[in-house]
């Protein structure tokens, strides 16, 4: 059937900010969908609050609304745009939930909007546990036995029937939030209570535990003629009980016979038909009892998902793109397979390699968080690796994680245990409880002689996986034997057959170097002299049955190399690897832009990355894609093969930047700002000399390599000081230190992170205003991209603070000073490309905090705010173009305000304090734009999920220092009609100023106390600034409880001020929506910068 002609305009809902369980995979799918629909001639209306996405680039939609993804806003957009259809299946759970809500409110009916892809009925059938159960029973599919409950009493009755352990699943939440497995009554009651709270409909499903069963997923697609295909099967390495987002997963399924696989396939097809997903993709999850093969259906996601992004990257089949085309009426057989060109999309990909996905965690960012993995997702990113064997893919995947592991490294030191028995007990304990590094303990368990069946008993991990890991460990043992063998030189010990076998098993040069006490480069040389070549194979959807036209490669050690280096001038772009806090979608955005811009300019672009969620690893983005770990070895292997004219390291975040020196040493042409300049910016001493020369001020500072050094520096500049390692992103191990004892502790931590680089110590400027500047230069022309004023005062990581563009409180004189300083430094550093500077302003003095001659996290935000694609320009400039020729020579200052707000994962880590500091904690960001700053801020808060109330009760508890400044804010809130409740101290302070406030018990005083009020929904906003640098336990409890109950919690005075403003403007006039394209046409003031 051809595409539908009755539809003209289609609306797509994006997934909003990056949060745990909803990351850039939805930008990947959304971007594909926008492209696919526009290709077909449809007008696309898009809403997404996340400015760091490619999909929100103005050219991907006809009207791009960077507005909060809420039912209210979507309704407004629908009223304004009057789309014919709404495609709800590409924006993750957020998109789906909002679409269902909008449908429920009758908005779609009112404006005659058709929901395409999946309708409300089928979404509810898949999402509502009860309806789902009934649907599956109707078609005769087996399910874990389960009971739905709406209260604790019902729960207690149900558990008697189902037994312990028991699974608790709240209905209608994100990524299993609030779910879990209970092993005893106490855990059970806790989890049920939490689940009831988290569920949008106060409903929890209690389920027979299938803990330890094998877990499988199928990615299914269906068209309107009811043709159904399975795109990919996925087998989870970690058995049932661990959220699939936190599991190591493997494609295709490894341990099912064809007979069993086909039964699963039939079940999935029947399920998608019964659920009624008319067109598009679906993810179907199964559990299989390893003892008897009993197969039960676990769940269906009637939309594209994290797994579908993975399946797309794992097979080369673009699920989201095809889903969009199916939604407008095409059938699978009418759509060509891009990769083979001649065959249609109505087929099932055959793969001839093994794909391993490994989640990336950042528990180190959340001290006190429970690192045990369960049914609630906790990982923030993932790496995918492709190899010809599971062993190779696993080791490649482990080194892709960038957690300082070079493969399946050992993580225990036997020396630390007084007896082998203790060691064994320790390892067994580590195996029993699933946690972020369990995979390494499996290796160690085998190293200390535990058997695979013993490990299987403890972990439930399938023996097939364990056997493969054992083969890696066994081979490592033979390598170790060879390493101490006769003959001193490397070549005689590491013989060619041994080396070749090691490479085939995925051992990195670094692992081999460690085993043979050699240098990494020595192993590489040996590979060369032995003629052991890295070979590249294609991901082609068809196991080589047909010619493939899309150059999507992975490396392996085989006989045939399929790469076809072309003759065009090539530029290689190094991506950012797995998402983590501090390095996420913003950098991928920059890489993608570079690729687009350079392709357009006639270069051949080569992307290297290992993150399956991203747009950068879409085979459509660059001329060539190498899906490879971002390590020196893997990157240089590609360089050797492709011999690019230039390599870009400054766009992918710290990951590629860390490779700069190694690449340069290998003779690679690093384009853009020179590595020497990068070094000046990173090296404190050199940087100081430069600032002195330019007569710029920085906070007094020094560097140290040990505690003694640090002590003397701190003594010289005076406490408080800011301690941090060099060459890290995201404020890892960064801390404000007020005394010597604390200093000693942090020096230890910082030196571990810093490695061979020195530790930086700065005077900390309390209560300063922070400013971020992004600029671009080509060596001749220097243009400010944007100057952003932070809302929170200095001391909070720039990645976590809210920012406003253009600045709202700085004087023109100060802004000019900032401009001049920025340009002066860029000129001095001979910046070619992007540069980010962080300043602090205090007492009308400007301090330079940090200069980074590379893309920053704010580049996408600034680009969207000013309507200029900075990363694209930067890439062109790096490749030799001049800003003059590209038409960007003047700073553009919008007349409207753009606010960037950060989004935090605290609801995933119950009990962890939400206080912000120098360690970055946010997973994502949102943007609010409006002609009025207050409204822009309000939008940013709504988009970030901070539902600022327009009436109700505000709880205020501030430290002594803030008691003066809070008075004005509280007065305004009262004027706006709010009631105020405060703790005794704050209430007294308010009373003295003539403000009436009810007082309330603190946490450890009498009941009911503030926690009860929060839980009972009597508090609508919390303003709570920390009492001291080490927060009191009760404060942590209040803030954490607020997060868990969705009560907005403000922890800074400046934040409270901005919020009061926002509430005030919103009370005056309701928010309205405007597309980005319209903002970009608005009045903009151009300013030429002079340095």
């Amino acid at each position: 059937m051809p595409k539908r002609k009755d539809l003209k305009k289609i609306m797509i809902i994006g997934s909003g900010p990056i949060i745990i369980s909803q990351a850039c995979e939805f930008d990947y799918s959304g971007t594909q969908a926008c492209k696919a629909l526009r290709e077909e001639g449809y007008k696309v209306v898009l809403v997404n609050s996340n400015p760091a996405t490619i999909m929100t680039d103005p050219q991907f939609a006809d009207a791009t609304y960077i507005e909060p993804v809420t039912p209210e806003v979507v309704e407004k957009i629908i009223a304004k745009e009057r789309p014919d259809a709404l495609l709800p299946t590409l924006g993750g759970q957020t998109g789906l939930n909002v679409a269902v809500e909008v449908a429920k409110r009758g908005v779609l009916k009112k404006y005659k909007v058709e929901m395409i892809g999946a309708d409300r009925k089928s979404i509810e059938k898949a999402e509502d546990r009860d309806l789902f159960k009934k649907a599956m029973q109707k078609i005769g599919l087996d399910l874990p036995r389960s009971i739905n409950i709406k209260s604790m009493q019902e729960a207690k009755k149900a558990v008697e029937a189902l037994g312990m352990p028991i699974v608790i699943r709240p209905s209608f939440t994100l990524g299993g939030t609030g779910g879990g497995i209970a092993f005893n009554t106490q855990e059970f009651e806790e989890l049920v209570a939490r689940g009831l709270e988290y569920s949008m409909i106060h409903e929890v499903l209690l389920e027979e535990s299938v803990l330890g069963w094998k877990e499988f997923e199928l990615e299914v697609m269906r068209d309107r003629k009811d043709n159904v295909v399975i795109i990919c099967s996925i087998e989870n390495f970690d058995p049932m009980g661990i959220h699939t987002g936190d599991s190591i997963t493997v494609a295709p399924a490894q341990t099912l016979t064809d007979a069993e696989y086909q039964i699963m396939r039939d079940a999935a097809i029947r399920a998608i038909r019964e659920i009624g997903v008319d067109t598009g993709g679906c993810n179907v999850q199964f559990a299989v009892d390893p003892r008897n093969g009993r197969m039960v259906m676990i769940e269906i996601n009637p939309r594209v998902s994290r797994s579908s992004a993975l399946a797309s990257k794992a097979t080369g089949f673009p699920i989201a793109k095809i889903a969009a085309k199916l939604a407008v009426g095409y059938t699978l057989d009418e759509i060509p397979n891009d990769i083979t060109k001649e065959t249609p999309a109505s087929f099932e990909p055959a793969i001839d390699y093994c794909v391993v996905k490994i989640p990336r965690f950042t528990f180190e960012k959340f001290p006190g968080a429970d690192t045990t993995l369960g049914t609630s997702m906790k990982s923030v990113g993932e790496a995918m690796a492709i190899g010809r064997t599971f062993k190779e893919a696993l080791q490649k995947g482990l080194r892709s994680l960038e957690t300082k592991r070079n493969g399946l490294d050992s993580v225990i030191s036997a020396m630390e245990f007084d007896s082998p028995q203790h060691l064994r007990e320790f390892v067994t304990k580590k195996l029993r409880q699933p946690h972020d590094t369990r995979i390494f303990y499996i290796g160690d368990a085998l190293r200390i002689g535990m058997g695979t069946s013993e490990i299987h008993d403890v972990t439930g991990i399938d023996l097939w996986f364990l056997e493969n890991i054992k083969e890696i460990v066994d081979f490592e043992t033979s390598l170790k034997d060879a390493a101490v063998g006769s003959g001193a030189d490397l070549k005689t010990r590491l013989t060619p057959p041994l080396l070749e076998e090691a490479k085939k098993m995925g051992f990195s040069d670094r692992q081999l170097a460690a085993i043979f006490s050699a240098k990494e480069d020595g192993i590489k040389e040996l590979r060369k002299s032995d003629g052991i070549k890295t070979t590249y194979k294609l991901v082609d959807t068809c196991a080589a049955e047909f010619e493939a036209y899309t150059p999507y490669y992975y490396s392996t050690y085989e006989t045939e190399d399929e790469s076809r280096p072309g003759s065009k001038t090539k530029i290689m772009i190094l991506g950012g690897g797995p998402n983590r806090i501090g390095q996420g979608i913003e950098f991928d955005y920059c890489c993608v832009h570079a690729s687009f811009a350079l392709k357009e300019a006639g270069f051949e672009t080569i992307m290297v990355n290992c993150n399956p969620e991203t747009v950068s690893t879409d085979y459509d983005t660059s001329d060539k894609l190498y899906f490879e770990p971002m390590t020196k070895e893997d990157v240089l292997n590609i360089v050797d093969k492709e011999k690019p004219w230039g390599v870009i390291v400054q766009l992918g975040g710290q990951t590629p930047l860390n490779l700069t020196l190694a690449l340069k040493k290998a003779g690679v042409n690093i384009i853009g700002t020179s590595p020497e300049s990068i070094d000046i910016a990173e090296d404190r001493e050199k940087f100081k000399i430069m600032l002195d020369k330019l007569k710029l001020r920085q906070p007094p500072n020094g560097t140290a390599r040990n505690f003694e050094d640090a002590k003397s520096v701190a003594g010289r500049i005076g406490y408080p000081v800011l301690v941090r390692p060099s060459y890290v992103l995201g404020g890892r191990a960064m801390e404000i230190v007020y005394d010597e004892d604390t200093l000693e502790r942090f020096i230890l931590e910082a030196s571990r992170v810093s490695g061979e680089h020195p530790i930086l110590i700065d005077k900390f400027l309390e209560d300063a205003v922070e400013v971020d500047v992004d600029m671009i230069a080509d060596g001749e022309t220097f243009v400010i991209g944007g100057i952003m004023e932070h809302i929170e005062e200095a001391g909070i990581h720039s990645g976590d603070s809210a920012m406003v563009l253009p600045p709202y409180s700085l004087s023109d004189e100060m802004i000019n000073k900032i401009r001049q300083a920025t340009v002066a430094m860029a000129r001095e550093l001979r910046v070619v490309g992007l540069m980010n500077v962080q300043y602090a302003v205090r007492d009308n003095k400007l301090y330079v905090l940090e200069v980074n001659p590379r893309a920053s996290r704010t580049v996408p935000f600034v680009s969207k705010a000013i309507g200029v694609p900075l990363a694209k320009l930067a890439a062109r400039v790096m490749a030799g173009a001049k800003l003059k020729d590209l038409g960007f020579t003047q700073e553009r200052i919008p007349e409207y305000s753009s606010v960037k707000e950060s989004v935090f994962p605290f609801n995933r880590f119950p009990g962890v304090d939400i206080m912000l500091g120098h360690e970055m904690k946010s997973t994502g960001e949102v943007m609010g734009i409006d002609d009025d700053l207050g409204r822009a801020y309000m939008k940013s808060q709504l988009a970030a999920g901070q539902n600022l109330p327009l009436r109700g009760t505000v709880f205020v508890s501030v430290r002594d220092k803030d008691k003066r400044s809070i008075i004005f804010i509280v007065k305004r809130l009262i004027d706006l009609g709010f009631n105020i409740i405060a703790t005794q101290g704050t209430a007294n302070a308010l009373k003295k100023n003539g403000i009436k406030a009810d007082s309330i018990h603190k946490v450890y005083e009498d009941r009911p106390n503030i926690l009860d009020y929060v839980k009972d929904g009597k508090i609508h906003l919390i303003i709570n600034t920390p009492s001291g640098r080490i927060p009191r336990e009760d404060e942590v409890k209040i803030r954490s409880t607020a997060i868990m109950h969705g009560v907005p919690c403000i922890t800074t005075i400046s934040g409270a001020q901005a919020s009061a403003n926002a509430i005030e403007v919103l009370l005056k006039k309701d928010l309205d929506v405007t597309p980005l394209q319209a903002y970009h046409k608005k009045a903009i003031r151009n300013v030429e910068a002079k340095g």
Partner: protein, 371 residues
């Protein structure tokens, strides 16, 4: 681990490690893109005369079991994989793939760049090859390969067909139909599905003549899959001709090709054939696409039977080749692919229902004509 060597007739050589029976084997080298189902593939008699290379690199993961067999023994003349699993892990598994191959004396090799091999076959076409764990002299191996018969012109049905007729044990349920199945290399799953569709089945040797079959008074005749070149199977084509119109006919794979010949058509050899479980086939009557199990090296030339009242019913969406046909008036239809699956998707299982439907209609009509 013992060395093995694979040599193709175009001189392509790959070194490998032996993991099955030791020895030397010759045959046409083909690749199969199924990611699961190696035991069914090994035991499919259609692979007689062929050395099978699996494109999925990790094989043997779930071992072998007594149930997933398509005939009484493995028939493939050699087996090639990238990596065979050292252990097997599946609740039904009983014997490792290695032991299974050794027991059945199948020469097998691992450690081969099967993707390179596949690409070679894709560009050069299916070729003769030798897999040896004894002779590593390429000149000598080349000679052996060149003196081995090519697939075109080979009658391999003789080797795989049953020696005498037998009844499929089947389930206890009452059967509506009695079907005679010609065994050209029949797969058990065809029999299982006929049984499930309500047919009592008698399997007869390939050379059984039509009169004997009709004397059994079957409601329908099933023409099975099988190995080799259909064009040289005169002795079967001749008998099928005699059955056309007298009894409903359903052919699969070789059975389909033989029907094509019996209708007066021709077959030709495909460059490297279809072997896998993911080919899309369109049913031209319903316009629906089914994902199919495929295993054939020859194909019916529709042009050759244009004027014989044959209608194309199924087409392969990959290369547009013939995947099924029926007669405009007479009760017969056949498909090139494998609706019986084993291994592969079950999408086309409805064809067994179509066969019983045809038999039912035929039965009724005959009842009217001969009271």
């Amino acid at each position: 681990m013992k060395k093995a060597i694979l040599l193709l007739e175009d001189g392509f050589v790959l070194e490998a490690k032996s993991f099955g029976a030791e020895g030397e084997t010759l045959g046409e080298v083909v690749f199969n893109t199924s990611m699961t189902g190696y035991q069914e593939i090994l035991t499919d008699p259609s692979y007689k005369g062929q050395i099978v290379a699996m494109t999925y690199p990790l094989i043997g993961n779930y071992g072998t079991n007594p149930e997933d067999i398509e005939s009484g023994r493995p028939w493939a003349d050699g087996f090639i994989v990238k990596e065979r699993s050292r252990i097997f892990s599946n609740w039904r598994g009983t014997v490792s793939l290695e032991d299974y191959l050794i027991k059945h004396r199948i020469v097998a090799a691992e450690g081969i760049d099967t993707r390179a091999l596949t690409r070679r076959i894709r560009s050069s076409g299916a070729m003769r090859g030798v897999l040896s764990t004894r002779d590593f002299d390429t000149d000598s191996l080349k000679k052996k390969v060149m003196s081995w018969p090519v697939m075109v012109g080979r009658d391999l049905v003789r080797d795989v067909t049953c020696k005498q007729a037998y009844d499929w044990p089947g389930s206890e349920t009452r059967k509506e139909f009695f079907v005679v199945a010609f065994d050209y290399g029949i797969k058990y799953n065809s029999l299982r599905l006929l049984d499930r569709a309500g047919c009592k089945v008698r399997i007869v040797p390939a050379a059984t003549n039509a009169e004997e079959v009709l004397a059994l008074k079957p409601d329908g005749v099933f023409l099975s899959n099988g190995p080799g070149d259909p064009a040289v199977l005169d002795y079967t084509i001749r008998e099928i001709k005699k059955l056309i119109g007298k009894v409903p006919l359903f052919g699969i794979c070789l059975g389909h090709q033989l029907l094509g010949h019996a209708l007066g058509g021709k077959t030709y050899k495909l460059k490297f054939g279809h072997h896998g479980g993911n080919h899309p086939v369109m049913d031209l009557e319903t316009r629906k696409v089914e994902i199919t199990s495929q295993n054939h090296g020859f194909c019916v030339d529709m042009d050759s039977i244009k004027d014989k009242d044959a209608i194309l019913t199924h087409v392969n969406l990959y290369d547009k080749t013939t995947e099924g046909l029926r007669h405009r008036k007479l009760p017969l239809f056949c498909v090139q692919y494998h609706p019986e699956a084993g291994p592969g998707p079950h999408d086309a299982g409805y064809l067994f229902g179509r066969f019983t439907e045809m038999m039912r209609t035929f039965k009724k009509r005959r009842g009217i004509r001969v009271p």
